[in-house]
Symmetry: C2
Subunit: 597 residues, 2 copies
């Protein structure tokens, strides 16, 4: 089985020492959210994850979900675990107190998402999708709908879905065919088939609320003609209990590569009663307002899986004895040393760890900016935070989900042949992680979002939200000898990112295809610089702590610096290839005619 203990000390380091989470309690509505409270919450979350969710991860994968006559059963233990989760109030964590929520900051729910994904990504899909539905309804639903449905999503007795994809369209939602016809009862009748619906049907909750994209009669073509509807599985009675069955049914569930314990349904809507959420034809906008949080959540799945992959690989590498150290110390009493002595094994471990730690810092930063964007009393500060979130979201989604897959594959490689065997639990991580690079917008789409939307927005205003603090930090620490191994390489990489940015912008202006051709490598270049910036800041915090005596944690802080140095010397150089590919331009992508593929 995979190994996982929530890295609480690392999390606290990022939340409190790097990001100054204490500032959150100055925001209206977050007065109670002190670092102490946040610590208490994540400690409890760690217990939930380690004691209840993790033990179900491997068995849930082996058993999967079952489908019979429209009924879907989750694997053994899931129902009970879900009941414990809602009993603990976890579904209400970052929800509005007006509807029964605990009103905790996004930073805390971001950490919680990481912990749950580390322990059991498939299980996390159920509350995760509910929370997505909660956000959409909270942001765009009428007061009546919110009053009727939100408390159920918040207390977790009902769950939610997002029904976007159809067989002919995923990325290009303008092509959807599901129709909504005006109707006297509910307002609308929904007809059509949606595919790939996570948590579309299951046995964890007494009711399921589908948020469905559909087209009204005479709606404009493309994405401007899409509306969002709430379609419950059971129509609520006047007492708020599940009543008559609505015209929604699950036709089948998919046989997937991974997250097998998450039921992915084909959902048929046959004149189902639906209620409009938001205005007519504004369905895509309703989706987009919650897209940043949803994409960050998928990024947290990648990060969570990377952490478990790293921990599992490190545990195996400390335990497994094979070969003798080629240099340095070896244990003469043993016929072989633990494989952690071998440089190439350390390379795999440190690549995963150095990117996971940087990715954690980056994503928590983004989580905190989500809070500031929502709550800061100064509109200018809200805008600034919102800009940074908008910029970082596609980078985080793509980079952290790529990391999830890379770290999981590295864990398999460290395990050798055992890594290929189900019982060891790391090949499951590879399979589970793979979907994160695809859903909620493929990583290619994230890259296009970055170069096509975010890069040029308001003549680069979003970019400056990132470039300015980086440049300021580097300038302030230019002469800091203790950080020389951090500041120099980061400055060089930043210079190349800025050059690449100008090149992509200029070429893309003349030929949009050029920006698209550069997109993925540009995003990867950007993510490496962003991670390098996080390492600069983490190293600076760690140096300061060491200078201040480290309070008995010298080895913790020293490890931060050591892992950061590895990142600078052996991961950041990857930026160089991405820079060259961006600069090479897109010409050679378009030479081959379609028929020659």
């Amino acid at each position: 089985m995979a190994s996982y203990t929530a890295p609480l000390r690392d999390m606290r380091f990022v939340m409190h020492e790097l990001l100054d989470s204490s500032s959150l309690s100055t925001l209206p509505g977050y007065e109670q959210a002190t670092p102490e409270l946040m610590d208490a919450v994540i400690e409890e979350a760690a217990k939930l994850a380690q004691d209840i969710l993790l033990p179900l991860n491997l068995s849930g994968d082996a058993e999967g979900c079952t489908y019979e006559n429209g009924v879907v059963r989750t694997p053994k233990g899931f129902k009970d675990a879900y009941a414990q989760m809602i009993a603990g109030g976890w579904t209400s964590l970052a929800c509005d107190p007006e509807f029964g929520g605990q009103g905790m900051p996004k930073l805390v729910s971001t950490v919680f998402e990481e912990i749950v994904s580390s322990a059991n990504t498939a299980f996390g899909m159920y509350p995760g999708l509910s929370h997505g539905a909660y956000r959409a309804l909270h942001a765009h639903g009428s007061e009546a709908l919110k009053k009727q449905y939100l408390p159920k999503l918040v207390d977790g007795t009902w769950s939610g879905t997002m029904c976007l994809t159809e067989s002919q369209c995923g990325t290009d939602l303008g092509l959807i065919r599901t129709r909504a016809e005006p109707d006297a009862d509910s307002g609308f009748r929904i007809t059509g088939t949606k595919i790939f619906i996570s948590a579309g049907e299951h046995d964890l909750t007494e009711n399921i609320l589908h948020l469905v994209l559909a087209k009204l009669p005479g709606a404009p073509a493309g994405t401007r003609g899409i509306s969002l509807f709430l379609v419950p599985k059971f129509l609520p009675t006047a007492e708020g209990r599940p009543g008559a069955r609505n015209g929604v049914s699950c036709g089948s569930i998919e046989h997937k590569m991974g997250i097998k314990a998450s039921a992915t349904g084909v959902m048929h809507f046959d004149g189902a009663q639906g209620w409009l959420v938001g205005r007519e034809n504004s369905g895509m906008r309703c989706m987009f307002t919650m897209m940043n949080a949803a994409r960050l959540a998928v990024g947290m799945q990648g990060l969570g899986l990377a952490e478990t992959a790293y921990q599992s690989a490190a545990a195996y590498a400390r335990d497994r004895r094979q070969g003798k150290s080629v240099g340095g110390k070896t244990d003469p009493a043993q016929v072989a040393d633990p494989i952690i002595v071998h440089p190439d094994v350390r390379r795999m471990l440190l690549e995963s760890r150095s990117m996971t730690e940087a990715g954690r810092a980056l994503s928590y930063w983004c989580g905190m900016e989500l809070d500031r964007a929502e709550r800061h009393p100064d509109p200018a500060m809200r805008q600034e935070a919102d800009d940074l979130v908008a910029l970082l979201t596609p980078i985080l989604k793509a980079a952290l989900t790529d990391l999830g897959s890379d770290a999981a594959n590295a864990a398999v490689q460290v395990h050798g042949g055992h890594g290929y065997i189900h019982e060891w639990g790391v090949e499951q991580l590879v399979r589970d992680a793979r979907i994160c690079q695809i859903y909620e917008g493929t990583n290619g789409i994230q890259a296009l979002d970055l170069v096509g939307r975010k890069l040029g927005q308001d003549t680069g205003r979003l970019l400056r939200r990132f470039f300015h603090p980086v440049a300021e930090f580097l300038a302030a620490h230019e002469q800091d000898a203790a950080l020389s191994e951090f500041v120099g390489p980061t400055a060089k990489a930043l210079g190349r990112l800025q050059q690449a940015t100008m090149t992509v912008a200029a070429r893309g202006m003349a030929r949009p295809e050029e920006a698209a051709a550069a997109a993925t490598d540009y995003l990867r270049l950007f993510s490496l610089v962003a991670m390098a910036f996080m390492w600069c800041r983490m190293a600076e915090v760690a140096q300061r702590a060491l200078q201040a005596g480290a309070n008995g944690e010298a080895s913790f802080y020293q490890a931060k610096i050591d892992v950061g140095k590895f990142f600078m010397a052996r991961v950041l150089p990857r930026h160089s290839s991405h820079f060259q590919v961006v600069m090479a331009g897109g010409e050679t992508l378009m030479l081959l005619p379609e028929v020659a593929f």
Copy 2:
């Protein structure tokens, strides 16, 4: 289901136009092996693969092998397919005519291995392992053993295994515990348990011949005390039929991530009768003489999977309509263009294709050198060919199996959500490809073989076998304007490879850990340069063909040049990061103490 049609034209291009396969028929024993005969063979192989093996690939994965009371059943259709395979004489292809083989060149069996792996990697394991056993026995068995057993392996009625791994050791075979005790009947009695034994037990053949590594009483410690034994499942009768059951049994089969139709057994030897192969305590040497061919065969699995992944992704990208082209032509009659118009989709396809084509050229080159190493009348030429094979083998094994995984993952990504669903057949490719990076020596071990053994051998003699022809080609074409996009970038990358080589050699001399720290990045740098060299040569051949009129195949040759240009502009730049990491040295790998992982 995955799409695959054997790329016969590409194969012929490499065999005949690039490598001059007609020279093979000048080697003793290969007089019949004309290009025409080779073409006829691979055309028939393509039919076998496409008509019989490919249709069983997805179903074989879904069904897997089953184990009951020591009996293993392969998936539906496998028995019949295997019967057709041996009826067609495919198991005898590259075998010695003295024992019933067809005596075809290694080049042909290399192509055959690619084709079979493309269609059904799991199926290919059964004849593949038999061929490994054939080679070991052919090279090291006594005349009596060879006469008794080889014809059965050649005609495919009996199959073979290689029993090396035990639970406590894979990479480090010096730790094996299986014992061999002298015995009056067969010579030896073998006792011990082997794990991860591919084709260890199954229902395809009437007998199974295990080649087992074991230790004789009083044998030296470590790898110098290992001997090789032949242990048949059924002891042959005087008439050569399977007789009494030997003390070998299959305790269970593994639940693997992929190649599920290949039975991977835990094999118990309980005083089983065994016959010594080779001399006492020379078991590791016996293994090593066949290692190059076996590692090349695993490389061909990676290449074959990459080809199928590419073809499946290209077929989907031509068919699936989603979004409109951001620039260039779009079809106004359609609401969306096929996704192959999108630059980022082309990027994924071309990364896979440009490396697959270069990998094919490199591996066929190595296959041909295997023939020259074995058959050339001039010992100096044999040595030269053997040197090149020894150098290229770890590079091919690692680079082509990494490619197999990368291309399979790219195919999943091109398919979007559908790629994650079993029925589409591409997620299976990811799972099947993953083991190739692990078995027959992990790719990390390949890298250590390259820097630790091959690089310094005879003061760089092996290296010169590669560097000299590359340097000669580049010098000869320095002024060739038609190749300027090829020669320039390759020369630059070669220069860096040479600099990295000297650095690794110098540092490794002082501290072996430094060579180990550089190994993986050095191998990747090397493989990119080797692929670039192949593209230089392929582009040169294609240019010449175009200048000569191209005989109605102008678009074929132009595609070679176009794909090669893509490689130079957008894949080769990856060498730059690997170069920097090599030069960065290993210091940051060793900073973190073991307890801090």
